[in-house]
Amino acid sequence: MGLRRVLRQADLPAERGHAPARPVTATLLSAERSPAWGVGVVAAIALAVGGVLAGRPDVAALGGLLALMSTGPLAGRPPGRPELGFGSDAVDDAGRRTAVLRDAGDGSGRLMVLRGRGPGARQSCLVAASTERLELRVPLPLSGRREVLRYAVSTASADLVALQDEAAAGSLVAGLRPLPARARRLALPHRLRSHAGDHRGPLAGGGTDTLGTGTWQAGDGLRSIDWRATARSTAADGMPVVRRFAAPADAAVVLAVDARADVPTDAAAWSRPLAGRLRMDSSLHRARSAAATIAHSYLAAGDRVGMMDAFGFAAPLPPAAGHRQFELLRRRLTTLAVPPTSLGPERPPQPPPGALVFLLSPFLEPDACERAAEWVRTGHVVAAVDTLPELDLGGTAGMEREAWELLLASRAASHALLAERGIALLPAEGVEAALDAWAVRRMRAPGGPR
């Protein structure tokens, strides 16, 4: 008789960058006699019969030992309830987090056998007593949401005659949100400045939305003095009170992410699971980090930032401003994954009119470059962010090596086409410095910022 139950993993705090773990399904089965019990009974009977036939009571006594061991399961065993879940949310220097294995049953003497396999790692197995509370270090990915451990726990009585084959089974899922950096100067298309948006920035300026009031300071206009508030003021220095307004923020920035491939540093690990793949730098990890940095920089300046899949595999996130939008973007970036199909929508997605578009792609396929060129033709300012990490082709050979060389040649052609169309190519690694330099280049360009 099986009893199914759901063990809910504790939600993890968002500020530490971990997504809540998926509920884990556990199956509790009644204890069954183990094959060792069968071996003992067979050997006991054989020795008893042999002892009688040979007239050797000492041989029969050997069978008595095995018969003694077989009395264990007659007393019955309460089913165990081992549980595995993330404990502390701390991550160590090697990028590992602590999971806790414990038995929520009555704590009687049993053995817990935990078997688990993480991505790119070999199966690990641990046998522990049910009275133990074991802490296990589980490696986490650099960023994104991943299943980090698929596990099964069985239990056995300490005398090894009762077994519970699958006392608990499930998986541990961890999500690490990308950490942003901040760019000092930001490129902003000149024509976007003349489009007053329906949103407001966090800085004081010449808008219409009231930001607050305060005492007059050098630089405040006389027209901003709130005479009624000044009359009501009890300030001893007699300084007039001014009303401040929020500055309008105009630019809409769209992060278009090409998530069709997640290429790791070790090229051989792209097509087959290899050791250390979980902690390997990859194109999607770079896309997450670069997109978070760009979004953080523009949102901090009061601009609106949205996100879309460059090839329409996921629903877009409309541009908006504010800290909540940044958290929404980080959540989207955390769940960013390679789409399960290569069949995208027939109609290509379009960024909002006049938006500044950052296309984040490894540019392994020419259509990414063509997509950027198409958006330039429709009046957008486009910057390409190259997310491919420095590749190590050492693990590839034969046709795989040749295929990689062809891909890299196609990528070089895409870069040339981007340069020909005047599309800036920024590296994802250190994108904040690249943004800064790009902003300076655009300001110094003939005719001013475009």
Partner: protein, 189 residues
């Protein structure tokens, strides 16, 4: 193309662990400690071919105990242990407690290995739980062996002696069963 070591999926923190292969090695060493003297005794009576056969069988069973943690491994190992005990005829009285101890240890160690894959590691607390569960059985089995030896030496074996041994075994098993039931009943003594 270089082969890189594949990392563990998880690592236990703050506990001492013993690899499963070490349990198999201990079981194999105990097993050989009984089988090799028996093989030498066989050789003194039946010649070199018997020695080679016995050592070959013992070596194969020891290798099985170390490398293949499976329930079925236990059966040939137990059978060879008993055969080795029988081969040491006329067995001295002190040999029975030793064989009982070795048989039990081999059964427990190989049974523990059978619960987990070959790559498993056992915590020291798990091994302590195994020992705690094994000692009452071992005490009972030694008492049983003493009874059987006493019953067997008086009439010098034979059907009556064996029947007395089996009777003693049944009494010991019944007593152990009753003790377990009473001990686990809520509110029992």
């Amino acid at each position: 193309m270089t082969r890189r070591p594949v990392p563990e999926s998880f690592e236990a923190v703050g506990v001492r662990t013993v690899p499963s292969a070490a349990l198999g090695a201990v079981a194999a060493a105990l097993f050989l400690a009984v089988c090799v003297p028996a093989a030498l005794a066989q050789a003194s009576r039946f010649g070199g071919a018997s020695l080679a056969f016995s050592l070959g069988a013992a070596g194969t069973a020891a290798a099985l105990a170390v490398w293949i943690p499976h329930h079925l491994t236990t059966l040939p190992v137990l059978a060879l242990l008993v055969a080795a005990y029988l081969g040491l005829a006329p067995a001295p009285g002190w040999l029975l407690p030793v064989v009982v101890l070795v048989l039990h240890a081999v059964l427990v160690l190989l049974g523990a290995r059978s619960t987990a894959p070959a790559s498993a590691r056992f915590t020291t607390a798990a091994l302590a739980a195994l020992l705690r569960a094994a000692w009452p059985v071992q005490v009972g089995a030694q008492a049983l062996g003493a009874l059987a030896l006493a019953a067997g030496t008086l009439p010098r074996g034979g059907i009556a002696g064996t029947a007395a041994g089996l009777g003693a075994a049944l009494v010991a098993v019944g007593a152990a069963y009753a003790a377990v039931r009473i001990g686990r009943r809520a509110g029992g003594p």
